[in-house]
Amino acid sequence: MTFKDLHIISMKSFSRDMIDHILDTAEKLEPIASGKTKSDMLDGKVLAVMFFEPSTRTRMSFETAMMRLGGDVLSLGSVDASSIAKGETLADTIRVVQGYSNAIVLRHNKEGAAQLASEFSSVPIINAGDGAGHHPTQTFLDLYTIRRESHLEGLKIALAGDLKYGRTVHSLCYALSLYGAEITLISPKELRMPAEIIEDLRSRNIKVTETDSIEEAIADVDVLYATRIQKERFPDPAEYRKVANSLQITTELLEKAKPDLKVMHPLPRTNEIDPKVDDTPHACYFKQSFYGVPVRMALLALVMGALE
């Protein structure tokens, strides 16, 4: 199994063995990610970070990962002040930047942008989100968090919130199906998981249950993964408030949960999780955010050939 020069575009191109190898590598790199030990593994390598739309957290996570491994970061900077503003195509931008770097992290507002970039790049492209399309490194860090804080084998997980538009939960479901997880989907009817994804999961012999009540599901799961319900999806603000409040995770709700239940969230949160939950052993979302660093370190080290 070699990852050198591999483009990271979509979770669908990763087998369970490949995912396990990435998670194993991330675990080995975790002491470096937390600054406990130092590394110059990527000394002399340059990572180009091209964010065509803002995502501060993901960008900083990649930059931290590269710097922790002793490499340098080259940032596209403001799109408004670049050649893109002059009308340069993404294909041309990629062909230029590949000459300056050993790998390119790309965040773009158009779906399929990372795939297109990979067709013009001789260095690995890492998709950091393309429109409503894929965001594979988020899924890797979600899987890593579940493995570190709970368990992937025999997992019972509930996904709550906007399951219709939430790309992170779509990719996560597919990845979890490789581990035989039992999945409970909690959402208002307007934001249900697309039927074709549920069908795909069931065709993989995954037990999938749908409900609109978080109270019904919480007692039986190991992980509760909440996502943000976007206000703009609701034409009527009153409908939004009703739905948002019905899926709120509170300390009272968590009294019904297993003692080792972990609450995850890709962040940023709005009112899905009561801040009082932060002080309970269930809260896992800030650790989840940190785990993005060792996971992205693993991916960078693997695709740049510093590790096998």
Partner: protein
């Protein structure tokens, strides 16, 4: 052209000496086939079109083109809107070759992605690309860039 079917439609048009008969076109798709073949144009020979002809498998369309044989790209496109079509090459009034259309695994530059936010619909130096599969009777196209699926009215999205 009998193929054991009811011969009624065939007697309504004259046989052709040299050219192509596209038979078993999915009913209603004949005009899209003409679009694919860029017909009519100044160089078109005589074209005969039969729409909603009865056959043993239901109704079908038929297109007869004088003096022209189709290329592979044209046949690939026809397969997307009419997967059961047959291509009959006519030479000197005889069926010289008869083939079923071949459904390609990937088509490029043939169909426009329906997702307005797909990178293939922006000003990039790439053609649209789709993987092709079948879902029972239907052709299902999946964009290689954004993964959006087209399975209805493919003829309306041909480039």
């Amino acid at each position: 052209m009998s193929n054991g079917e009811t011969p009624v439609p065939e007697i309504r048009v004259h046989p052709i000496k040299n050219g192509t008969v596209i038979d078993h076109i999915t009913a209603g798709q004949a005009l899209n086939v003409l679009n694919i073949l860029n017909i009519p144009n100044a160089a078109s020979g005589v074209i005969s079109i039969i729409i909603n002809a009865p056959s043993v498998h239901g109704i079908k369309d038929v297109v007869k083109i004088e003096g022209r044989e189709l290329n592979v790209d044209e046949v690939d496109k026809i397969s997307l809107i009419s997967p059961k079509a047959t291509i009959n090459i006519i030479r000197n009034f005889e069926v010289s070759e008869k083939t079923h259309v071949h459904i390609p695994e990937i088509v490029g530059g043939v169909v426009k992605c329906i997702n307005p936010n797909c990178i293939s619909n922006s000003n990039e130096p790439v053609s649209s690309k789709f993987t092709v599969s079948t879902d029972g009777q239907r052709i299902v196209l999946r964009c290689l860039y954004c993964e959006r699926i087209i399975s209805e009215d493919i003829g309306n999205h041909l480039l």
